[in-house]
């Protein structure tokens, strides 16, 4: 392993460890899971659209909480290091700025990948828990209610016995518990009878969550670039603006139809987030094709690399 690669792993690994131990990360991930799972239990009207509403809400939660997490994590790992002075020690070591910048982005991207995984599992559960014919899935609800005990008590005991940090342990236990719940409910129907594996789960949700995950990586590239100069409130505000502007970018470009150049420039600058919103494609028994996800991934890679280049240029010139 070359020294450069070793340094990159060390920088990204430490940033990821630090992010996982932050209470804000814990709260954002768990709030997203709680909102995603609890919404189907709170749906008050019965118009035959319960599962549709549950999945749409879950995908929306993933987008918004993921965006806040991307903004917070980017600022925590980059801007706060510049502000607090930790970066002075890092740059007194034989570490280049490009490596540092890319390692920070990698850490945020890995954190978001974990977030998307948890969110995907929670969305699968939410779809299963949505009431059908005025009846709740009591088996699923019992498992959900038991999950905090399964997660927090062992994590607390581990912290007590071995001083292992409570926050990341709980997060990993929650990811495992969600996976176990999905696997258990994949083999049982609502009455607890064994069924063919996966027959009771809407697997189309996974590529939809993956598509949103790609969008969140694109937003993470924007967040880390903004974080080289801006603090968390400004970064998250700009990201929210870009999210909403990106979701209506076609409409905005249409408003500028009389000035084609302006419309073209606007479409080039704003991220085309409409391509990443999967809820519409899932309605009416539709599904996301591999080509659709591949196209979105290529777009996100190209856009993200461009943004990272701009972000690095701003970071390279920064004096501490």
């Amino acid at each position: 392993m070359t020294i450069g690669f070793k340094q990159f792993i060390a920088l990204a690994g430490l940033a990821l460890t630090d992010l996982f131990r932050q209470p804000a990360t814990f709260l954002l991930v768990l709030t997203n899971i709680a909102c995603t799972i609890l919404v189907p239990l709170c749906i008050s009207h019965q118009l035959g659209q319960q599962t549709h509403l549950a999945v749409d809400s879950a995908l929306a939660f993933e987008f918004v909480f993921g965006l806040i997490l991307a903004g917070y994590a980017a600022c925590s790992t980059l801007h706060n290091e510049c502000r607090s002075g930790t970066i002075l020690i890092i740059f007194s070591k034989p570490v280049g700025r490009l490596m540092f910048f890319l390692a920070k982005f990698t850490a945020v991207a890995l954190l978001l990948a974990f977030f998307v995984y948890c969110s995907s599992m929670a969305t699968l559960l939410a779809e299963r828990l949505a009431p059908r014919n005025f009846e709740f899935d009591m088996l699923g609800i019992k498992l959900i209610l038991a999950s905090p005990f399964v997660v927090f008590i062992p994590a607390g005991l581990l912290n007590f016995r071995t001083h292992r940090s409570f926050v990341p342990t709980s997060l990993f236990f929650y990811a495992l518990t969600l996976t176990a719940m999905v696997l258990i409910l994949s083999t049982l129907d609502r009455e607890g009878q064994r069924v063919a594996f996966g027959s009771m789960v809407d697997w189309r949700i996974l590529p939809a969550c993956l598509l949103e995950g790609i969008a969140l990586l694109l937003l993470a590239a924007i967040a880390i670039s903004l974080a080289s100069r801006l603090a968390a409130p400004a970064t998250v505000t700009l990201l929210l603006f870009l999210l909403f502007a990106g979701l209506v970018s076609d409409h905005l470009a249409g408003l500028l139809a009389s000035v084609p150049t302006a419309g073209f420039v606007l479409k080039m600058i704003l991220p085309d987030l409409q391509s990443f919103w999967p809820a519409d494609k899932l309605s009416d028994s539709g599904a996301l094709s591999g080509a659709m996800i591949g196209h979105a991934a290529v777009y996100a890679t190209a856009y993200g690399m461009g943004v990272l280049c701009l972000g690095y240029t701003a970071f390279r010139e920064k004096q501490f």
Binding site: L14, L88, I89, F91, S92, K93, P94, G96, Q319
Partner: protein
């Protein structure tokens, strides 16, 4: 270890001007200073707040680009990555990751230097012991006192066995015993040929360990030289002797006054508060 001419840091007409958003000069933090620091020397940079000490240090570290002038560190430009591999830096504040433990932090910095395997373990364990953090090695830094965090800062600075050590207020926040230990450690490092540059407000500490000092004021070096040269007053002597009888002392003073035309000042030689503190604490039965 050093350079061909023995100079580890060489600055000529070094200037740093901070500019505003419109690129207009806002403040001249360092104004054309000349600095030469030789191998094996402990050099002190003194000055009041805002005198340009930290700016000079950051330029030596390659964190700030000089506006004009020449600066070489270990014979190369300061931003050269190869230079940084031979440098150790301890900043004024303990800028550390508060959710990580002392061992995790040191392992991380060791990885940045490319240390691995037994060498990494040996260095990390050795420094943890050397700075007195064995009992707190697995506690998060966020739970540390300022003095303990400073010790981690010092340990990370020495991980790569650097040729050039840059320290910003190294004894700040340390108790007198730890302070003495740090000073002894630095003197030991200088004896091994390491070059040390210290910025500090603790003048007594600087006087104890520095070979040469420079005093900065408003970005200019007002004076620099060896500590001995700066402190010595060639027209005055201090004579320590066992207290004689009053009549003998009076006769001696009269004689000196007659010879020099000035009445000598007589006082008792005293110990420093530091020596009293260290003696009291180390002799106390509760001290391990």
């Amino acid at each position: 270890m050093g350079t061909q001419n023995g100079l580890v840091i060489e600055a000529r007409k070094l200037t740093k001007i901070f500019r505003d958003f419109w690129h207009r000069p806002k403040v001249t933090a360092v104004h054309g200073i000349d600095l030469e620091i030789r191998q094996g020397e402990i050099f002190g940079l003194l000055g009041p707040n805002g005198s340009g000490k930290s700016t000079t240090l950051k330029m030596i570290l390659g964190l700030l680009h000089p506006s004009s002038g020449d600066l070489t560190v270990l014979g190369k430009p300061p931003h050269d990555v190869a230079v940084k591999a031979r440098m150790g830096f301890m900043p004024e504040e303990s800028y550390l990751y508060k959710y990580l433990t002392a061992v995790e932090i040191l392992n991380f910095y060791a990885n940045l230097y490319g240390l691995s395997g037994s060498l990494k373990k040996e260095r990390v364990e050795g420094l943890i012991t050397q700075v007195g953090l064995t009992a707190a090695r697995n506690r998060p830094i966020g739970e540390f006192s300022k003095g303990m965090a400073r010790r981690v800062g010092l340990a990370q600075c020495l991980l790569n066995d650097p040729d050039l050590i840059l320290l910003d207020e190294p004894t700040s926040g340390l108790d007198p015993i730890a302070c003495r230990e740090v000073k002894d450690l630095l003197l030991g490092l200088a004896k091994r040929g390491k070059t040390i540059l210290i910025c500090s407000h603790h003048l007594a500490d600087m006087q104890d360990i520095c070979d040469r000092v420079a005093i900065l004021l408003n970005g200019d070096i007002c004076t620099q030289g060896t500590v001995q040269d700066l402190l010595i007053n060639p027209d005055t002597l201090r004579l320590s002797l066992p207290a004689p009888p009053r009549e003998t002392l009076s006769a001696i003073l009269d004689y000196i006054e007659q010879e020099t035309g000035r009445r000598p000042v007589v006082d008792h030689t005293g110990r420093t508060l530091e020596s009293v503190f260290i003696e009291t604490v180390t002799r106390h039965p509760s001290t391990p």
